[in-house]
Symmetry: C2
Subunit: 341 residues, 2 copies
DNA sequence: ACTATGATTCGAACCGGTTCGATTCGACGA
DNA sequence: TCGTCGAATCGAACCGGTTCGAATCATAGT
């Protein structure tokens, strides 16, 4: 494999000249630059990443720390990953993907060995044990998911409070008086998944303020349990006319459940979920929903991270905590409650 | 950040001695080794990955080239990625993930710059344009998916021929005489997705040999089209008693379709699919299926790749082309055809 | 004719590891 | 007592880039 020394020799110049000719960091005469570029092309020269990293202390690699948790919804995870890898590529970075369940240890190894210029953390828990490691690292970090303490990192997340409010307001505006909210399993909350209670509490609060009855429950994250639970819920609250879903498995199971009960949305029941449009398309979910935009969050995290890496911001720019406003995708599954309610 | 020079100084030895003490590649007295290790620990020393790669020409990173194609089924892709990252971690490697649509260019850049010790290609097409680049690279490669030409690479894939045969044989054994096979969209075939016709042709052949009628069609990869197509198919072939699905979207859509037609499996129709158990669990698919084992294929590819990287095989060990035998997961959706057929 | 100037290019050092050959030193056998 | 041997350690070179300061050279100014 050709080195820059080979290129320099072929072009009849010093190594440093070849380097400058290729990088453009110093003025080089047109003639020499052309010679160097030609030699590089002919030898098929590509810089050795390790050597360059050693010399520049820059790897142009971003670490992506995902955690494949048992209850995490897989398709959404892939969308995060996709958003991150794509925007990284657009900005000239590669992605080092770690799914090590030993998150803190993996993060420490990757940052200490300087394999990456920065790090994106997915699935951030309220009290995420990777955060102390990240703060101690020399590289900047961007999070997808809101932890309790945001100091020293840039944070991106869907505005779950506003999402909860919006869902309730929407159905309230249509005249509904009794709602059911199905959240993710409770142990997701216990594990630190703050988004669950952020949406839930906001929904409960809004419902109370509007004088609505809201039955807020935790649902399983897989079939067939969630199907049974949905049946039980509808049995238990026959007066409820609105169903809010913050649980992908429940959304996936609901069409069958409605069929089995011979119900349809929005005629018998108004339904509104919170999941990604991609997910909705893949499974043709007919329910209006708050778009959770995982790919967009991934892109935002990478963009901000790269700005920090490349110090486009003034040295100590304040860290950002940005909430993406929920957008309601109307698929026509909500309407005024059936007469008689 | 501490370098090995700092460690050596703190321990009062030469850099080389510190290196040997930590790597164990030469005999070092117990006393000195202990001193070095202690110094390393106290200084929080971690070797610089770039420097080590430069010195050893080894990165302990594996490149993972995925392609997020519009019709590829997302959850399956995540399972491949998961299998690859997990087994890589177990073997002491990190994963550099690329989803660049410019596959050949990305592969060339990654291998030429020696960021990786080897490469796993997902989604390999019959005439994959990444293969020439891979063969020209100095690093070994492992594929998931069967190309037309396997020279110079290790290949892993599900045995789609055997899968097609097994599905047909299974229903034949139960007494069915007329079957429908729904494959992925035809443009997946045109793009080089050989697995589609491999299963399809084998199924057609087996059906012919057994004297069965088999209606083999291509289906859409998303709802709601695929739902409509399934309805049309069942309308068109009222005498068919068995349905074979090599199309995840069709499997996901079928429960609703059956409901709408007031049919149930296996009483009215025997159904057998080809998808992963994980997928089946997430969506509670009640259909027996050939397990496509994406995570297992990912693991196998990485294991073999690492053996090549570490030259555990004799220098020029023949390249392997391994087909995973299909395993039928019985979910009780097949039985003898209803009487009268 | 001589120097100041600016444009190019060169040489050497450095990044932080690994590895090879040489050196040191104590123990042991003759 | 001396040479030999083996174990432990050291020093230097090397991997392949980047970057800084110095050197070269032609041109322009006086």
């Amino acid at each position: 494999m050709a080195t820059i020394g080979d290129v320099a020799r072929a072009a009849g110049v010093a190594r440093s000249t070849a380097s400058y000719a290729l990088s453009g960091k110093r003025a080089i005469s047109d003639e020499v630059r052309a010679r160097v570029q030609r030699a590089a092309r002919e030898l098929g020269y590509t810089a050795n990443a390790g050597a360059r990293a050693l010399a520049t202390s820059q790897t142009r690699v971003i670490g992506l720390l995902a955690q494949f948790l048992p209850d995490e919804f897989a398709p959404a995870m892939l969308q995060y990953i996709q958003g991150v890898t794509e925007s990284a590529r657009d900005l000239g970075y590669d992605i080092l993907l770690s799914s090590d369940p030993e998150g803190p240890a993996a993060l420490k190894r990757i940052t200490d060995s300087r394999m990456v210029d920065g790090v994106v953390l997915l699935n951030v828990a309220e009290d995420d044990d990777r955060l102390p490691v990240l703060r101690a690292a020399r590289q900047p970090g961007a999070l997808v998911g809101l932890p309790a303490d945001c100091t020293g990192v840039d944070v991106f997340d869907l505005d779950f409070e506003e999402s909860g409010r919006a869902m309730v307001e929407h159905l309230h505006g249509l005249g509904h008086r009794e709602l059911i909210l199905v959240s993710q399993p409770e142990h997701v909350v216990e594990r630190g998944g703050a988004y669950v209670w952020r949406l839930r509490n906001a929904a409960i609060e809004t419902a109370a303020a509007r004088g609505l009855a809201l039955h807020a429950v935790y649902g399983s994250s897989a079939q067939p349990e969630i199907g049974r639970e949905l049946h039980a819920l509808l049995d238990a609250h026959p007066e409820a006319t609105g169903l809010l879903l913050n649980n992908e498995a429940a959304a996936a199971a609901l069409p069958t459940v409605l069929h089995q009960r011979n119900l349809s949305a929005p005629d018998d029941l108004s339904v509104i979920g919170r999941y990604s449009d991609e997910f909705a398309r893949t499974f043709s979910l007919p329910f209006s929903s708050i778009e959770s935009a995982p790919d967009r969050l991934g892109r935002m995290a990478v963009r901000q991270l790269v700005r920090r890496i490349e110090k486009q911001d003034p040295e100590d720019a304040p860290h950002v905590v940005r909430f993406v406003s929920p957008e309601l995708v109307d698929r026509g599954s909500t309407a005024a409650p059936p007469v008689g309610h």
